[in-house]
């Protein structure tokens, strides 16, 4: 479980996150939604320590991540997996080297154990015979799946996904969503997904946080979102023509 308390973030004079209070639960997919520029990515980067907020706390199982030393943060980072918007696979490494990178970094596994773990992760995301390929040789959907395989290589307790479906065709997007949901439920991970894809929201949204102008404007689940009274949320949700036709 991750708790965020009174979190605020500024870029110079501009406040991009304002007094965020939210709890991300274990074993379910927590979604952060909102328009571009609403602060979703900044929130995610604060949660994983890529940005340091000016105010507030981020508690991983009750431990304040921001106040930890670099060495202590490293221990928590071992338990975090992240899927970046563009996959962020290392271009100069093969698929296998990408997935084993966190294993090389954080574990004392033998070569054989690492190989087995890499193959297991690739099988888990339904990829076969791609070990020796480079990221540039893969399709967008395959790159995302390798990104997920790398993110789960260390059996993370927390999984962060930044726009996992951006740039994917609808069928592959469903595949990625299902994969994230399965992994979350199977391993009891605390998963946080940044998205503005309403299809993902309807498929995965067990705990949805709607951000607008750096503030939480609404919180609920995918059953409640269509009936929500928040005007900005309505504008966001019903911008999708498929949902407009819904009675």
């Amino acid at each position: 479980m991750i708790e965020v308390r009174n979190l605020s973030k500024y870029f110079g004079e501009k406040q991009v996150l304002s007094n965020i209070n939210v709890t991300f639960h274990k074993g379910i997919t927590n979604l952060v939604i909102g328009q571009s520029g609403s602060g979703k990515t900044v929130l995610l980067k604060c949660l994983v320590g890529l940005l340091i907020p000016e105010e507030g706390q981020i508690l991983y199982e009750g431990v304040d991540f921001i106040s930890l030393s670099e060495k202590e943060k490293r221990e928590i980072r071992k338990t975090i997996g992240m899927l970046f918007q563009g996959s962020a696979l290392f271009d100069s490494m093969t698929v296998e080297e990408n997935i084993r990178f966190p294993l090389d970094l954080f574990t004392q596994m033998t070569e054989t154990e690492k190989k087995e773990r890499v193959n297991f992760c690739l099988q888990r995301v339904n990829l076969h015979n791609v070990n020796k390929l480079y990221p540039a040789e893969l399709s967008g959907g395959m790159q995302k799946r390798v990104g997920i395989a790398r993110a789960i290589a260390l059996n993370p307790l927390y999984l962060f996904c930044d726009e996992p479906n951006s740039g994917l065709d609808p069928k592959t997007a469903i595949l990625i969503d299902e994969l994230i949901r399965e992994i979350t439920e199977e391993y009891g991970i605390t998963t946080i997904i940044n998205t503005h894809d309403m299809n993902s929201v309807m498929r995965l949204g067990k705990n949805i946080i709607f951000l607008t102008e750096g503030k939480i404007a609404w919180q609920g689940n995918n059953q409640q979102i269509l009936d929500a009274e928040n005007e900005k949320l309505k504008d966001f949700v019903f911008a999708n023509t498929l949902l407009q036709r819904k009675p």
Binding site: K45, V48, G49, L50, E70, K73, R74, R77, K78, I80, M82, F84, Q85, G86, A88, L89, F90, D91, S92, F101, P102, D104, L105
Partner: protein, 247 residues
Amino acid sequence: MYRFIFHVGQYFIFLSRVFVKPERWNIYIRQTIREIDKIGIRSIGIVTLISVFIGAVLTIQAVYNVKTPILPNYIIAFAVRDSLLLEFSSTIIGLILAGKVGSNIASEIGTMRITEQIDALEMMGVNSASFVTLPKIIAAILFNPVLMILSNIVGIIGGWVAGFTTGIIASDEFIYGLQYNFQPYYVTYATIKTLVFAFLITSISSYFGYYAKGGSVEVGNASTQATVYGSVFVLFFNLVLTQLLLV
């Protein structure tokens, strides 16, 4: 002027992050071997090509400028050898590598920055500045002296071939001239220059790549800046080192 001072300050802060104890030596060693291939071995072709022509042209120019009845012919080979050793094989090759290797490094690291690969490293608790830069600096420092020696050998061969094929200097006179009044210290001088240039080229281009922001245009700008600043500093330190080591 303000921008220059800002860059100098930021460059030294960057270097202080680069020269720290690596998280895992084996990962860095693997990266360094990879960089020796990319930075060093793949530069053998261009260095050989340019050196052979420089050697040939130097011989022909030396004949044009030096050949008089009062000077022996072997002076031509002597002049070619010392010109190659003192200046061409270190400085000219340094400038060429500032263009080829410098732009390559800046665009590679810049692309890593804009595609979130550097964020991925930071998120895993890796010192990204050190991880992307240190193996390149070590690789260049280890391999550039090899390129310098190769350049000397190939340049001399180019001069020798140009000399006897055009009939301007006999082969035995050329070989005698190569051995005439040889100063071993010149090799030390050329090696010191090569090592300093290797450090400057890799660190400056890594710096510009690492702080690239935006998209492909900015990465292109970073690549250009890396080449320009790399070349300028190679020329400046050529002057400083010549003054310090030869005068």
